[in-house]
Point group: C2
Chain length 352, copies 2
């Protein structure tokens, strides 16, 4: 029988936990990752010395609205990979799957606000919402114009107010970032972010769990013939455990859920993000995308642009998710407007 | 104890092997992946109907030298992801880790040759070398000007004639492709390819094995506290099995091996490719890159450009590799010359 075991953690002869990852000391991984990013892309980003925060090299940019996002790490390239011209001005990176603290967010706002105000893009998790809103209120009381939006694109959860913010957040970064780059006011940038939030939906699945470095063991156990549907991005279980499905079956399930929730009709136009979870090879991402594409074509939904990659991952988790953004002319323009970040460069194809 | 099991294969209640991958029927994965690529990037590539071959949308391009490469699949984005303006004209994709057959290669040459001749870029594996050379001889006898180069950048093997072609091949695609785009002759394009081959070295490691879909079990077994150094790209074992190392230790080992073999001196200038193996999350790639960068800085070696990504992967394998290309002014220009492929777009940052 073909069972094979990939154990990613073990104990050394000294009884110490060995986490089978390319890291050094568990607990140092976020700082060292951001050091690596700053070394690799010195023309785009710089790291604030006292925090695990990356800011755009030129920040603060006077006369333009700033965009600050962030959250726990382990979702790379979110959010640090989206800092740069036409997207985020700063990304606050918490420990793995942990919200950044209030002082970190406040310091980021103060580092990048260029006098025209700052928009915070928050994913709908209690810790993120609380910390970002508290930092916003403190920044506001020190005289900075500030607004925020909360992204809740995950259709795996029924009640919209409980929906988590997942990969659709990247569409908010891109469109609101492009609007800010055009010189729009804080209110105008916020309105674009809200328009994206109203029109974007996502759903994911997992074939494996993942290991938080400091924890050292898988976040959940999963049978060798099982998968999770409706996963979030923090290594948690999904809303439903099912037997392994084909790639086409997975693509149809996730796509149908987004189409239904968005009430897409034949003739509607969308952007598609077809994504891995961090440990998904390219081959599987393209087999998955193939059926997402065919599914939408069969429904008469037009695909304006397709992004294939890892947009908001969960460490080394295997699996996939789909994000659909319903487009109007303004969103089409903003989504394809020039950007220069580590992960998303426009114009041109997007694949990573 | 923190051992956790990620079993990626199992048997269904019908006794059928379940491969825990986002695929449909094992054996269909290459065709379906290429379908997905062609659907996602219709402005860049098209698929030849009768073969698993992607060609540049505009091919054949009269008046320019064509570049044909390929090999087994499972190394994505190599090679199909490098088809497009400024890089490959065609990529012949064999079954997973299996050379494409002679008729497939011959059909690709005939589909893209624009009258100025075709350069074949072959990785040093006996199957690839035999099939590509046989196809070349058949194309030549039908009147097509043809040349080939053989890439052997893997320093894990001592004897240069036995060295395998791995990720350094992507530098050959980029530089020779840029030279062809400039309108150079077949001989000039081949000379650039040879210059890259002389100046590029790579070495890789593996933290996990990987599963060929049709086989259904891991290519090798690896203890939960072990890793392989000097791996190839076909899911085979490395030249040495060692206890798990830190990311910094791995980065130093691989970088030092390439630096030594290239006899790099303080003041030399290089391009760095810091890569995952297909299932390596971004976080680990950047922690790995950080030390590759610091290692080179300590030696006084200048980094002209850094590419972080998955350039020539092994399905879902975890691990990393480093490629160093020693540069002169011509190679600097060609490496950063405009290109528009799925995976490599220049100018700008490269991350995927």
């Amino acid at each position: 029988m073909g069972v094979d075991i990939v154990a990613r953690v073990s104990e050394s002869v000294f009884g110490e936990l060995i986490v089978k990852k390319l890291i050094n000391r568990p607990g140092d991984e976020v700082r060292e990752m951001l050091d690596g990013m700053a070394l690799a892309y010195p023309g785009i980003v710089r790291k604030i010395p006292e925090w695990n925060t990356l800011v755009r090299l030129e920040a603060p940019i006077f006369g333009k609205v700033a965009l600050v996002s962030g959250g726990g790490s382990g979702h790379e390239p979110a959010h640090a990979g989206y800092v740069g011209r036409g997207m985020l001005t700063a990304a606050c990176c918490g420990e793995v799957f942990t919200s950044p603290p209030v002082p970190q967010i406040l310091a980021a706002i103060k580092a990048v606000d260029g006098g025209e105000g700052t928009l915070l893009i928050i994913k709908n998790y209690s810790g993120d919402v609380m910390n970002f809103r508290t930092a916003a209120q403190m920044a506001r009381s020190s005289g900075i114009k500030i607004e925020w939006v909360i992204v809740n694109d995950d259709v795996a959860i029924d009640k919209p107010e409980l929906r988590r913010g997942i990969s659709g957040t990247v569409c908010v970064h891109k469109c609101a970032g492009a609007k800010a780059e055009e010189g729009a006011t804080l209110e105008e940038v916020k309105a674009v972010a809200q328009k994206v939030i109203v029109n974007v939906r996502s759903m994911g699945c997992a074939l494996t769990s993942c290991i938080v470095p400091r924890v050292g063991i898988n976040s959940f156990d999963l049978g060798s013939d099982e998968m999770e549907l409706g996963t979030g991005i923090h290594g948690e279980r999904g809303v439903k455990r099912v037997k392994m499905m084909t790639a086409d079956g997975v693509a149809d399930t996730l796509t149908d859920a987004c189409v239904k929730d968005l009430r897409l009709q034949s003739g509607d136009e969308v952007a598609v993000l077809a994504q891995g979870n961090g440990g998904t090879p390219f081959m599987e991402k393209f087999i998955f995308y193939r059926q997402v594409h065919r599914n939408l074509m069969e429904k008469g939904v037009k695909i304006y642009t397709s992004w294939i990659g890892e947009f908001m991952s969960s460490l080394e988790m295997a699996g996939a998710s789909v994000t659909l953004l319903k487009l109007d002319e303004e969103l089409k323009r903003l989504l394809t407007a020039p950007s220069e970040t580590m992960a998303i460069k426009q114009p041109g194809p997007i694949l990573f």
